[in-house]
């Protein structure tokens, strides 16, 4: 068991969730309730990473992160470092790649809240902000848990993008999925097996959470 790789993966998953939870809520609310021009396009854009080959994203990130492109230059100016071969680099990849996993469960949850409920809240004198905290979020709670669980589990399993822009540095960009791959290539089945069992368990627990919540929500339909 490569504990260092597990730690990198857990931090990566944690920070991806931290960034994507507020982003996911904002985007999902807009998509669920707002009718604006280009809404279909925005929805398609959010869903794109679901079908985008990880290597394609990896390739574009390699290009964009390079010192000869604005993103790379901006990062260089900001931190004095580079994005390729760093934790920050794989975190950006992870955030882009998990956007649909964070947005879609939340969007379904917000869409399921009847408009009358929000109107009633406003009529009772609650501000938009109070309505969000006291009415919308409690109702959308299962969607939020699903979004976080899916994002977390999906990040742990990320492989293609990390392989392309990470460089397999211990304690920095060598995630558990990369460690499994390296161990398999080095004919170390025992270590690969241990780490795979751990990821399998985490995946099971995630699916359990997501489906459990979906079932409960069906049960409390009014």
């Amino acid at each position: 068991m490569d504990w260092e790789a597990l730690e990198v993966s857990l931090w990566l998953a944690f920070w991806t969730c931290v960034v994507l939870t507020p982003v996911g809520i904002i985007v999902a609310r807009q998509l669920a309730w707002r009718r604006f021009r280009g809404r279909g396009f925005a929805e398609a854009l959010v869903a794109l990473p679901l079908v985008l080959p990880p290597t394609v994203l990896g390739f574009y990130l390699l290009v964009a992160f390079g010192s000869d492109w604005p993103i790379g230059q901006f990062w260089q100016w900001l931190t004095g470092g580079t994005l390729v071969f760093t934790f920050e680099g794989i975190l950006i990849a992870s955030i882009i790649f998990n956007l649909p996993f964070a947005v879609q469960p939340l969007q379904r949850a917000f869409e399921a809240i009847p408009h009358e409920v929000r109107e009633a809240a406003w009529c009772s004198g609650l501000s938009t902000w109070q309505t969000f905290w006291r009415v919308e979020l409690p109702l959308a709670w299962p969607g939020l848990i699903s979004a976080v669980a899916l994002t977390f589990a999906h990040t742990l399993g990320e492989f293609g993008v990390v392989l392309m822009v990470g460089g397999s540095i211990s304690g920095e960009t060598k995630t558990i999925a990369i460690a499994i791959y390296d161990r398999v290539q080095a004919f170390d089945e025992a270590a690969a097996g241990n780490m795979s069992v751990l990821l399998l368990l985490i995946s099971f627990i995630t699916i359990g959470i997501v489906y459990g919540l979906a079932g409960r929500r069906r049960g409390v339909r009014v």
Binding site: L62, F65, G66, S67, D68, G72, G81, T82, L83, V84, F85, L163, G167, S168, I169, Y181, D182, V184, Q185, A186, F187
Partner: protein, 248 residues
């Protein structure tokens, strides 16, 4: 219609598949093109890490010819009865110190220059293939150890999954160089973008590359095997920086 889809492309005349180590990427493409020119027969090339191919062949992957960068893998497969024979040594590989053109490090000055650059803090990232499972990664590690740099360079290393990826990393704007296969540095697409210099042979164990036919290989694979060992074949390998030994 469905039956057509399932059978796929011309089942009868399938060209044989070759599993070749990634340091052969350019040399074997060249060899295969000449082979097709001479004989009219085609082969399909797959590139990857030697260790990965060893595993796939052991599990019955439909390769007909295995060209490894490390002879130990070929010997292991022969022992386990997956190959026709112990095969032939077809090349001995060398490694180079390589940088992007215009990088601050000058490969001509060799590993001594790397030591100076490390001391001056001019090296951010340095790329090699993963020494855990890539033969060229092992050679790079040995070369760095010979120069007494292995400990110092640790925090700066990035690892390519195979030697091709190591080369791609080494030439990226975010790295300051790397140690990769000479055969890759000689390829036009890399040569244009890089400066490189050979690392002395005595800095690492010789990279003895062995190939063998997989059990059940067909006629075309056999012909290609013989072509690689023929004089024109060996001339192509020599062009790509491989030392071509006398077949054993």
């Amino acid at each position: 219609m469905i039956a057509l889809l399932v059978t796929g492309p011309a089942q009868a005349q399938r060209p044989p598949t070759v599993a070749a180590a990634s340091d052969l990427q350019f040399a074997i493409e060249d060899l295969a093109a000449r082979f097709t020119e001479e004989t009219g027969q085609r082969v399909r090339l797959n590139f990857g890490s030697s260790g990965n191919f060893r595993r796939q062949i052991a599990q019955g992957a439909p390769f007909e010819l295995y060209m490894s960068a490390d002879e130990a893998y070929v010997e292991a497969l022969y022992e386990s009865g997956h190959l026709e024979d112990a095969g032939d040594l077809y090349a001995v590989g060398r490694v180079v110190l390589i940088t992007r053109q215009g990088a601050s490090l000058d490969p001509e000055a060799g590993l001594a220059a790397l030591a100076g650059a490390l001391e001056a803090g001019e090296i951010r990232r340095f790329a090699i293939a993963n020494p855990e499972h890539a033969p060229y990664g092992v050679a790079a590690k040995q070369a760095l150890q010979s120069a007494g740099l292995w400990e110092v360079i640790q925090p700066h290393l990035v690892f390519g999954e195979n030697v091709s990826q190591a080369a791609q990393f080494a030439l990226s704007p975010d790295a300051d160089g790397g140690i990769v296969a000479w055969s890759l540095a000689l390829a036009p697409s890399l040569d244009r973008r890089s400066d490189w210099a050979l690392i002395p042979e005595d800095h690492h164990e010789p990279l003895r590359q062995r190939m063998a036919l997989v059990k059940g290989a067909g006629e075309t694979a056999r012909a290609f095997y013989d072509f690689i060992l023929s004089d024109p074949g060996r001339a192509v390998l020599a062009e790509y920086g491989f030392i071509t030994p006398d077949p054993d």
